[in-house]
Amino acid sequence: MKKKNKVGVRELYNKGSVKANKELWGEKESDFSRRGFLSSSALLAMGAVLGGKIVFGENLPSDIVPAGLKDTTEAFSILGKSGDLVILNDKPLNAEVPAHLLDDKVTPSDVMFVRNNGLPPENVDASNWKLTIEGESAEITKTYTIEDLKSKFKHYTYNLTLECGGNGRSEFNPPAKGNQWTTGAVGCSAWTGVRLKDVLEDVGVKSNAVYIGYYGADTHLSGDTKKVVISRGVPIKKAMEEEGLIAWSLNGEDIPVMNGYPLRLVIGGWPASVSGKWLNKIVIRDKEHDGPKMKGYSYRVPKYPVAPGTKVPEEDMKIIESMPVKSLITYPKTGAIVNGNKSFEVRGHAWAGDLLVNEMSVSIDFGATWKKCILEKPLNRLAWQHWKTQVTLPEEGYYEIWAKATDSKGKAQPIIVPGWNPKGYLNNASHRIAVKRIDA
């Protein structure tokens, strides 16, 4: 292996990891390496510099700077993603988005959060990608290429809110294990594909169907290629909703590799883990789907309210369905210093799982009084709603702006962290930002 120039590894990676991988390791630029993984010769070269074989190196996406090569602890970059994402975990890769980067009405692809349970598939060839529909309650087994889906079924585009069930986990006490999401595991982008419903009906759904489950092409962290990483799903009723998509496009372009390229489920309003990525199989089940992360404590909460830290028996846990009402302040960014009694806009988005948001309010006095905001209707069902208001700070000092949404059934966001649960799901407490008024 020869270094082509004197540029440091870090500096080279700053120019973009794909380019760096190409220059450093002789990795050829191709559709595969652009989207996929490092070649074995590049891995060998890397291993030589790192002083050993990169175990599971074949799983290392080409868009990631290997941790051992970093000369600082700076966050590395993810292909197609903003460098401002906060990396919670680099194996499996999980990254959240600071609230002010979610200000756009339609979440840009580079700030759509990244939540992986395993390692994304390598060498994805979209033209040969196949989706199989089968299961006890499928009339027949049928396999489609992406081209088949595109030519056979009507295309739909929906703006769908995807939020990780564990968004907000970092605030629970006693702490819950897992990625410590703060507020940034949410986004609402425009997804294009075919209706899940249309495809299921094309295969034929037996009257005894109860649930659907998905399978994807990601691989388990243990390196066991036979082990399924995650296989979740939804009841047949949710699967038959008009907005449920088998999607190949995000905001009019290919889905970023970390968000499921080339094909994924997008089922809005429920924990995003029901929207399987790298989708290659859907099963129509005659019972509740029982794939990995459907059982035990995964994506489940106690059937009844429990005191913080309670040991809840497994049989007393229930599957999370609709996500709760929630909102974000996306402007201004926290830390704003306002000069004098100048009025400024405060805005953001609100969403409520399967429901609508009916009312949006903000408080600048720690919840003593609330001001109603202007709230827009969603672009379509299951899309988040935009809200805004004007705020003036009455005197010099420190303030917090709190945001509170209320859903169409009258449920509002709590100000403190809601009911504790063993795995730290569903924290929909008010989003808060800090602002100061200084009189010049």
């Binding site: 292996m1 970093k70 243990s222 390196g223 306002v338 808060r432």
Partner: protein, 160 residues
């Protein structure tokens, strides 16, 4: 052989097995010595295919072992009794960020380990389990917190 019970056989196996391993180990040493006698350059040749590469390699390894302010830099782990065990065990499958961002008492961490063994193919940690749990509970233990924490780490800026 028929007159020995299964239990007796197990005892004999228990005695013989460690000796087998010892024999293998001794064999390996003899082999290394033999190669060295025949060609003393063999091992230096293995290690120095490319001199430039070795310097670079050493720098990376030094980087890997770097400890700053009590933190093992490349993993982010707090340097304390047992951290090497965590370093050698927990990084095989997942990032150390999954360790350092979590908190729990000994029972919580043990539960996490058992969950990984039951569902994620983590191997039996044997005698290293206790020191690993102790290290985690001591360095990544629960912290007192309110139902809602103060807003912290605010970067102040002037709103245009």
């Amino acid at each position: 052989m028929g007159e020995y019970s299964e239990d007796q056989k197990d005892i004999v196996r228990g005695i013989v097995k460690p000796f087998n391993r010892l024999l293998l180990f001794l064999g390996a040493i003899v082999l290394v010595v033999l190669i060295y006698t025949i060609n003393p350059d063999f091992f230096t040749f293995l290690a120095s295919e490319d001199k430039g590469e070795v310097t670079e390699l050493k720098e990376v390894i030094d980087q890997e072992d770097l400890i700053e302010n009590g933190i093992h830099v490349s993993s982010g782990l707090i340097v304390d009794e047992g951290y090497e065990l965590v370093l050698n065990t927990c990084g095989s499958c997942h990032s150390f960020k999954l360790v350092t961002q979590n908190k729990g008492n000994a029972e919580d961490w043990r539960e996490a380990i058992h969950w990984m063994q039951e569902t994620q193919k983590l191997w039996d940690l044997g005698p290293t389990e206790d020191p690993i749990v102790n290290y985690l509970a001591k360095n990544y233990g629960p912290v007192e917190s309110s139902r809602r924490a103060n807003l912290e780490n605010i970067v102040w800026y002037e709103l245009e």
